[in-house]
């Protein structure tokens, strides 16, 4: 068999790396960070039925939908003729847990061979040192900057969701998001925006800027939280533009940030040692990293909390605590206990109407999502969760119909609440 193409050091200057666009804001900022490190990265935005079709053609159909989509999208991009195939590489994330998602990269490589692109190098984005002999290496500086980009990205997403549905001048929020994204890119290119002090300054300015958007808080708005499998909850390609749909239904959305998932991965390594034993040194390193990240998280919480109308992100520690009461923290595959924790947190924060988005037949979600619904409902009768399955055969009309039911109940609850408040006032 042919030898697998490797992404060499030299390719950094010659090749464009195509990467999936899971979360538009966060991933764009991460791309900017990679550019500061000398890589040229493009986030794929091609959509359409041919993406799914190519995925179905080249990936085992029972594999999770995200893998099918991401790989279909990549092959569709390569097919498009837009890219010089001798100067193109692909990047895909690899989590390395007990979930089958760890196999995405292998599925991608298989699919590339099938589709006749065996010469395209694939870069593995992982934090576990898999695929070591690649010319793409994740350095300390890259990590440090990447974390900052995530914090900014999560914050912008949060602010966007909290303003958009209330804005009086349509389009203002989106314009501010783009403004801030290009602003951050400029800072990054100058090597700025990564120190804690500047981060606080930037975030403070962001919050203020979004607060300045003229809003109508009297609108009848339903608060909806989105949780689920990580790709499905953020990616519009995956979830059939769920955010746009909710916005059209007058919903204020809250999606827990990507930082939570990162922290979850780190926390799991600490938990693993606590539960079963293992290297104390490793535990200490992980604890240090966690503490650093929660400090960054703290900045955002602090700054957002200054505006009464804004809902700050839920501290990660809270998520751990709320998850623990319902599910064992040893459930660490896929989104694991974090998924359960996030649903509870959202409900506590007033977003008790929840969409749990998952690929059809997602194994970890059987446990931490659907498996916990009864327990969550027992604990909190007002929680209004709708699990939505996504797969190539599921139609948008069915998904939206189910969401509409959830919204109808939410609206009823909202009206009851308003009536109760009125009564109290009288």
């Amino acid at each position: 068999m042919e030898r697998e193409p490797v992404f060499t050091r030299e390719m950094r200057s010659t090749h464009t790396i195509l990467a999936p666009n899971m979360a538009p804001i966060q991933f764009a900022l991460l791309r900017d960070v990679l550019e500061t490190e000398g890589y040229s990265v493009e986030l794929l935005t091609n959509e359409g039925p041919q993406v799914v079709e190519k995925g179905l053609k080249h990936v085992h159909n029972d594999t999770c939908y995200p893998a099918l989509l991401v790989i279909g999208q990549m092959i569709d991009a390569l097919d498009s003729g837009k890219y010089d195939l001798d100067r193109t590489a692909l990047a895909i994330t690899q989590t390395g847990g007990g979930c089958r998602a760890s196999n995405y990269i292998h599925l991608l490589k298989k699919a590339l061979i099938n589709a006749g692109y065996s010469g395209i190098p694939v870069v593995s984005l992982n934090l576990k040192g898999m695929d070591k002999n690649s010319g793409f290496s994740i350095t300390y500086s890259m990590l440090r900057k990447g974390v900052a980009a995530l914090v900014y990205g999560d914050t912008l997403m949060l602010l966007k969701h909290q303003c958009q549905v209330y804005e009086i001048h349509p389009g203002e929020t989106v314009r501010k998001v783009s403004k801030w994204m290009s602003h951050m890119k400029k800072q990054f290119m100058k090597g700025r925006g990564f120190r804690i002090k500047t981060m606080r300054r930037n975030i403070r300015a962001m919050v203020k800027d979004f607060e300045a958007i003229e809003k109508d808080y009297e609108r009848p708005v339903v608060k909806v939280g989105i949780v689920g499998e990580i790709y499905m909850k953020y990616s519009s390609l995956g979830n059939n533009h769920l955010e746009d749909f909710l916005l059209s239904q007058s919903c204020e959305i809250m999606i827990p940030g990507i930082m939570g998932f990162l922290l979850y991965g780190i926390e799991n390594q600490i938990i693993d040692v606590n539960l079963y034993g293992g290297s104390i040194a490793r535990k200490l390193i992980m604890t240090t990293i966690r503490n650093f990240l929660t400090r960054l998280e703290g900045i955002v919480i602090e700054e957002v909390s200054k505006i009464e109308r804004f809902t700050p992100p839920i501290p990660f520690k809270e998520s751990v605590k709320s998850a623990e009461q319902t599910i064992s923290l040893s459930c660490k595959m896929g989104e694991g206990w974090l998924l359960t924790g996030e649903m509870k947190d959202l409900s506590h924060a007033g977003f008790n109407n929840i969409i749990c988005a998952q690929p059809f037949g997602c194994l970890p979600n059987h446990i931490a999502g659907k498996g916990m619904m009864k327990a969550l409902k027992d604990e909190d009768p007002n929680i209004n969760i709708v699990p939505i399955d996504y797969d190539p055969g599921a139609t948008r009309v069915n998904q939206e119909n189910r969401i509409k039911l959830m919204l109808a109940i939410a609206n009823e609850q909202r009206i009851e609440r308003v009536l109760r408040q009125k009564k109290r006032k009288q």
């Binding site: 298989k110 079963y276 034993g277 040893s330």
Partner: protein, 974 residues
């Protein structure tokens, strides 16, 4: 006045109420996809005849009404919510609503806070499903209810998905079961589906209200619900109109109906739908196409009494019977293609009589039968040969194209494809339950769009904009069609779209080809569905290659069987003569087999000749009494070992007893836990080996309908432990498995790892006892015993560290001993198989696939066919690393790769992989194992297993495998 409109997938319902919420007018009609038109008609009528005014409040509801309402800015209300509003008004004391509609199933819980459940994207058991089943049974839907009421017994019919149920019912029909019993069993399956699929752990109690068509029209369906739920539900007046009523009750504000009607008339906006290329661009293309396919024909000539020698082939398919009579030159002198009308013996009896009458003096020199009904027909009419379908089809295909590389057969119920290598069947692809969607499915759509299949497919041929419907199972396809209808797409475009979907489904879902070239150069297509020119055209288009469709494509199985019979050169066929046919009789009796604890329900067919044919058995015992010679069956050995542990006695349960559910990883780890707890003098109660009733006892708390069956069974096991009165259940969470040292990590799959958590969250009774599910890593407890001890001390305060270490030691030696004895037993099977010259089959799955309820007797089926059976965990662990292209990080799955490697290196072994439906990790292993085997020139056979007990498909695969292996041996001269 207020108007509520409920626009569903097939019907439009309307309720008009006055200001006192009194019903003024109601109507209910089918819309045949002409939604906007019908709605406009209806509103105009209301305006003119009922309201007398053009102003009224109006509210739309229903899945097909959503888009319409959006575009015309008419207020819309979600249909479940509408039901709830109506129920609250009309039946205020209702606790729970069960509503079955055309394609939806819903449960609404009113007590303890509102909760609504709708059927997921993978769920049958609805009105459309009952319709489909009625047409399968060939009885008008109106009689279904009456028939079901006459039932004497209930068969087990898979309840998860309509497609599964179908494959359960077909063999029952072919085996001659009574239609009344089947009808009743179908309704019971609908009930089970509703309860598992929707209630998901929430008990249905109190005042139940039944809504929707099926529950309104079928009293026996209501009865089945009443009995199963142990309550007495009611079906209120206007039970079909609750959604429309709810919509009317919610309507506010007034609209001008004339504007709405105007808007509706303009409705022709298509969005959200993608279109495909037309099948034929012009007449010329069509002419060329039909001329080319007309060439592949078999000569049909009239019977010549001077040459009376002939050969008979019968294909007793799942829905149809095909009979072909050949002369000695392989020319067809008679052929017959008919629906089996649920009674294949009668149809064949008539056909044979006709042959004898029509062709006096005929000498049938050989006969063969194939298809689902093979055994029944073989016995009933003394047919010379019963051959497996793949062999029949191959024989026929080779007649048309001796170098054929690939045969694809799309029939009414199934898709069968196989690759041919060196003239014998190599890889077989059958549509497993979920990827179904073939011939009868087109037929169902044709009739639901009120036309017949011929007309329907003709319309599709020249459709200009075939709609893209995706490629998945029937249930999904239903909603795609619903979407298309919602967008107002016409029948021809839907027909062409469906034809393309069938093809894509076959190619990408069943065969899972990654490139269309992979099928080979010479492809023969056949089966009734390829009669449909739209399907044939779509197939050639998708493949980018011309294929051969014999003109007798629907008769290929029968033709192949006849050829097979003629190749055997018999002197005279044993088939019943005309006089014997005249006295033919067929009596069906149902008995329960008492030869083992399985208690199979047997169908005994007795024929006039005294010949008996028994079906429904899971092993060969009822056929030949208690077995003589010992079978080489490692699965049986494993079950014996479990019995020998002697942990099943519920009479000894006391306060200290620890219950352990026998399922998933406990199939192996019990050998650790027994000596472990023995050290503390703690007695274990193991839940019994699974049975159907054990599964049903826990069914109600299953939280996800797409979970693998072995996991679903755990609910029943826990229930049985609770019923036995244990006060402690031990079932630890285990992210990590045992380290076999042949994979990069030693994970369990997420379901095996965390199922205790799901059980804990979904079974209330577990809260009343100690459910010990501490996370444990057995590899690390040796080095870090205190971690686990700390966890266990919460439940066993007097456990001490020294004793704990001793227990761990004992656990490990018990476990290691078991694994060693298992591998020893495996060696014995391998050796004895070689001595007895038996084909050795590695059943490669998971340890818990030995569960009799999971395996469905596949092991005994294999031994019944003369094979020796060994399992993946009984093979010696390879010392070398196995080079896989995918991440090899799950212990159980690594054993599969090990098994594939060993099978690849040993000529005498064949591997059959067992895959649970819904298993996500096996989506990865199956491809890898196929590749590993095929690179060594071995056949890959996969069996998907689930709740279903139908062994028909399994038998086809295994018999094809065995016949190919036999062929291979004769080729090699061994």
């Amino acid at each position: 006045m207020t108007i509520g409109l409920d626009i569903g997938s097939t019907t439009i319902k309307c309720v008009v109420i006055d200001e006192h919420n009194q019903i003024v007018y109601t109507t209910y009609e089918r819309h045949y996809s002409q939604i906007a038109e019908k709605a406009a008609e209806l509103l105009t009528f209301l305006h003119k005849e009922i309201l007398g005014s053009s102003h009224a409040s109006i509210m739309i509801s229903g899945s097909a009404g959503m888009g319409l309402a959006d575009r015309l800015s008419i207020p819309f209300i979600q249909e479940v919510y509408a039901t709830r509003v109506a129920t609250k008004t009309l039946v205020p004391d209702c606790d729970v609503v069960i509503e079955l509609g055309g394609e939806d199933a819903k449960i609404l819980f009113f007590n303890q806070g509102l909760e609504v459940r709708m059927n997921g994207s993978c769920a049958g058991g609805t009105g459309a499903f009952i319709d489909q089943m009625a047409s399968l049974l060939n009885i008008p839907i109106e009689q279904f209810d009456d028939l079901a009421r006459q039932a004497q017994r209930t068969y087990t019919i898979a309840s998860r998905c309509g497609v599964f149920a179908k494959s359960d019912i077909q063999p029952l029909l072919n085996q001659g079961a009574h239609k009344a019993d089947i009808a009743s069993s179908i309704l019971q399956a609908v009930v089970n589906q509703t309860i598992t699929g929707l209630a998901q752990g929430r008990p249905i109690t109190g005042n139940a209200v039944y809504l929707g068509g099926p529950l309104t029209f079928m009293s026996s369906l209501r009865h089945h619900f009443d009995v199963t739920l142990n309550l007495k539900g009611t079906c209120p007046q206007n039970s079909l109109l609750f959604v429309a009523m709810g919509a009317a009750l919610c309507a506010t504000g007034e609209m001008d109906l004339t504007t709405v009607v105007e808007g509706l008339r303009k409705e022709k906006v298509f969005d959200g739908v993608s279109y495909l290329e037309p099948l034929f661009r012009d007449q010329q293309e069509w002419d060329d196409f039909s001329a080319r396919h007309a060439q592949n024909t078999v000569e049909s000539i009239p019977y010549n009494p001077a040459r009376p020698v002939s050969y008979l082939g019968i294909d007793a398919g799942s829905t149809t019977i095909k009979v072909v009579l050949l002369n000695d030159k392989n020319q067809i002198i008679f052929s017959h293609y008919t629906n089996n009308e649920g009674s294949p013996t009668q149809v064949i009896l008539d056909t044979l009589k006709r042959i004898y009458e029509q062709f006096p003096g005929i000498e049938i020199q050989g006969s063969a039968v194939t298809g689902y009904g093979e055994h029944l027909i073989e016995h009933a009419f003394s047919v010379d040969y019963g051959i497996v379908e793949t062999v029949a089809h191959l024989t026929a295909a080779q007649y048309f194209c001796p170098e054929v590389d690939f045969v694809i057969d799309i029939g009414g119920q199934d898709i069968k494809c196989f690759r041919i290598r060196n003239g014998s069947v190599d890889s077989i692809y059958l549509n497993e339950a979920c990827s179904s969607g073939c011939g009868s499915f087109l037929q169902t759509f044709a009739s639901s769009l009120s036309t017949d299949i011929e007309q329907f497919s003709k319309e599709g041929l020249f459709a200009s904009y075939p709609v893209d419907l995706g490629s998945r199972c029937t249930v999904f396809m239903n909603s795609s069609v619903k979407q298309a209808q919602k967008e107002g797409i016409g029948r021809p475009d839907i027909s062409a779209g469906l034809a393309i979907s069938v093809v894509k489904n076959a190619l990408y879902k069943v065969i899972r080809t990654t490139s269309t070239e992979a099928l080979g150069k010479k492809i023969v297509v056949q089966g009734g569905t390829f009669h449909n020119d739209a399907v044939l055209r779509a197939f050639e288009r998708e493949l980018g290659r011309e294929v051969i469709r014999p003109t007798i494509s629907g008769l290929m199985g029968a033709y192949g069987a006849a050829l097979y019979a003629s190749h055997r050169h018999l002197e005279k066929s044993t088939i019943l003569s005309y006089t014997e046919l005249e006295s033919f009789s067929h009596i069906v009796k149902h008995i329960t087999c008492n030869l083992c604890t399985n208690a199979c329900r047997l169908t005994v067919n007795t024929f006039a000749s005294g010949e008996k044919y028994i079906s429904g058995n899971r092993c060969s015992r009822p056929l030949k009494g208690i077995q003589g010679k010992k079978d080489l069956n490692l699965v049986a050995w494993k079950l014996d070992q479990l019995r020998k542990l002697n942990l099943f006695d519920t009479s000894k349960v006391d306060k200290r007893t620890i219950g352990i559910p026998l399922g998933l990883n406990n199939y192996e780890l019990i050998y650790f836990w027994k000596p472990f707890f023995d050290t503390f003098n703690l007695q274990i109660l193991l839940s019994p080996l699974s049975t159907r009733s054990l599964y049903l006892s826990g069914q109600a708390s299953v939280t996800s309908d797409t979970l693998c069956f072995p996991a679903k069974l755990m609910h029943g096991h826990i229930q049985s432990l609770l019923d036995a009165g244990v006060s402690r259940i031990f079932y630890p969470v285990m992210s990590y498995n045992i380290d076999d040292h042949q994979s990069d990590n030693r994970f369990n799959c997420p379901v095996v790892a965390y199922y205790p958590e799901t059980l804990n969250a979904s079974m209330d009774e577990l809260k009343e006892i100690d459910f010990i599910r501490s996370p444990i890593d057995l590899e690390r407890i040796r080095k870090y015993p205190k971690k686990m001890l700390r966890e266990l001390k919460k439940f066993f305060p007097d456990m001490t560290l020294p004793l704990f270490r001793e227990a761990v030691q004992a656990g490990w030696s018990g476990y290691n001993e078991y694994r060693e004895s298992l591998i020893d037993a495996g060696r014995n099977v391998i050796r004895e198989a070689q001595e007895d010259n038996k084909q050795l089959i590695i059943l490669a799955g998971r340890p818990y696939h030995s569960d009799p309820e999971v395996l469905h007797g596949i092991d005994t089926l294999l031994t019944g066919l003369g094979c020796a059976v060994i399992t993946e965990d009984a093979l010696p662990i390879s010392s070398e690393r196995i080079d896989t292209k995918v991440l090899n990080q799950w212990t159980y799955h690594a054993r599969l790769y090990n098994a594939a490697k060993i099978a690849g290196e040993n000529d005498s072994m064949a591997l059959v992989q067992l895959v649970s439906f819904g298993c996500g990790v096996d989506a990865i292993t199956t491809d890898e194992i196929r590749q590993m085997l095929e690179s060594k020139g071995k056949m890959y056979t996969q069996l998907k297993i689930d709740e279903i007990t139908n062994l028909g498909a399994v038998t086809i695969r295994i018999r094809s495998l065995l016949s190919a292996l036999k062929e291979e041996r004769t080729h090699h001269g061994t």
